[in-house]
Amino acid sequence: MAAESADLNRTVLHELHVEAGAKMVPFAGYEMPVQFPMGVMKEHLHTRAHAGLFDVSHMGQVILRGPDVAAALETLVPSSVIGLKEGRQRYTLLTSDAGGILDDFMVANRGDHLFAVVNAACKAGDIAHLRARLPGEVVVEEITDRALIALQGPKAAAALAILLPEVAEMRFMDVAVLDWMESEIWVSRSGYTGEDGFEISVPNAKARAFTEALMAMEPVAPIGLGARDSLRLEAGLCLYGNDIDTTTSPVEAGLHWAIQKVRRKGGERAGGFPGAERILRELEEGPARLRVGLRPDGRAPMRAGTPLFEAEDAADPAGSVTSGAFGPSVEAPVSMGYVPAGLAAPGTRLWGELRGKRHAVAVSELPFRTAGYRK
């Protein structure tokens, strides 16, 4: 174990987590807090009722700069980047040549450049892919001197506005460059919990002071990766590596909303991204399988890997669970998984096998809980 943790990266907030009593675990090459003394369940509920502070500094922060950078990025993603207005961000995907997903990420238009936040486990691969596939005059710069924190929950806006009054005026998916104690703070009104909130990029040198200023506020508590996972699951959001990967297409994953009309068949800039042939065909004809929400009967969670059957006595599985846990706000177990398109209608009864026994589970609408975004 000791040798293992010596190889792990630490975020600039590591010491602060340890002082707060965090239980640290290896995650995507980093030593990260999985929970604080409050515990996963209470941390989850705290975020839904007040404001939760997450260290997401392990994620990749990347600046893309160069002539026609938006058009260049459109050669690698199925979303409209040219149509993204200055000061706005959107969710998009790096697709593979086979039409799978290399990563899902946020991209913001910051005037003379694009700013992307990518998954920790994918960042090295993403950066290599961007450098290899974008024209030489586009510069891909990984930002390594900034921490990234997320403040999420119904009290997040009021708390953050004490430090950065301008955030009160921001709408969901707005981005802004603000000033705090003579440092540039990069803020987006977004997150991955299904709550209103912000992701805040802070220079490493100010990260501890900024985080402590937030933590001193009554509604703010530190939240670990455990609750981050149950929060995003209830919100129906995909975890890269579980719910989406190179074997799942954006259409199978139900992420068709990330492909704007202008990039679809008949659109002005249709196709032109890796895997476009398969992805656009699936948009027209429908995919063979779909990511769905799942609500097991009873209280036993169906976790990732649980096989799903069409009938209690069916011999072969029809699909499987990709994420599953007990949803503290839903107060019931919730899962997501892939099933054939014919079994994807909400209300369809399926069977999940747990410890050799088949348990009934119903296909359900996603998200499991209505999001509290400030549109």
Partner: protein, 119 residues
């Protein structure tokens, strides 16, 4: 009270042994959200997986600490799994077993030995 290396506690009650999990185990599991109990009158062998505990983190099992017969289960845990975190040594007992020979418990740890075991 006796303790197993699997972090169960065993308490003799007449001719029965009551089985639960320790505070240390409950803490390690985190918030418990589901408990699956065996049927009463099930005969079990030592090491059989007889209880499933699901926490917010993962699923884990309770193994039968000795050979015997399940005589009673704690239905309150099915209704309120959080009892395992609230009162692991008291109200959150899992099942009662009838055993042939109370002597089999001698091999398990005392409270002091268990405290040393978990460090």
């Amino acid at each position: 009270m006796k303790f197993t290396e699997e972090h169960e506690w065993l308490r003799v009650e007449g001719e029965h042994v009551v089985v639960g999990i320790t505070e240390h185990a409950a803490e390690q599991l985190g918030d418990v959200v589901f408990v699956e109990l065996p049927e009463p009158e099930t005969k079990v062998a030592k090491g059989d997986e007889i209880v499933v505990i699901e926490s917010v983190k993962a699923a884990s099992d309770i193994l039968a600490p000795v050979e015997g017969e399940i005589v009673e289960i704690n239905d309150a845990l099915s209704e309120n799994p959080a009892l395992v975190n609230e009162d692991p040594l008291g109200e959150a007992w899992f099942f009662k077993m009838k055993i042939e020979d109370a002597g089999v418990l001698d091999g398990f740890m005392s409270e002091d030995e268990y405290k040393d075991f978990i460090g």
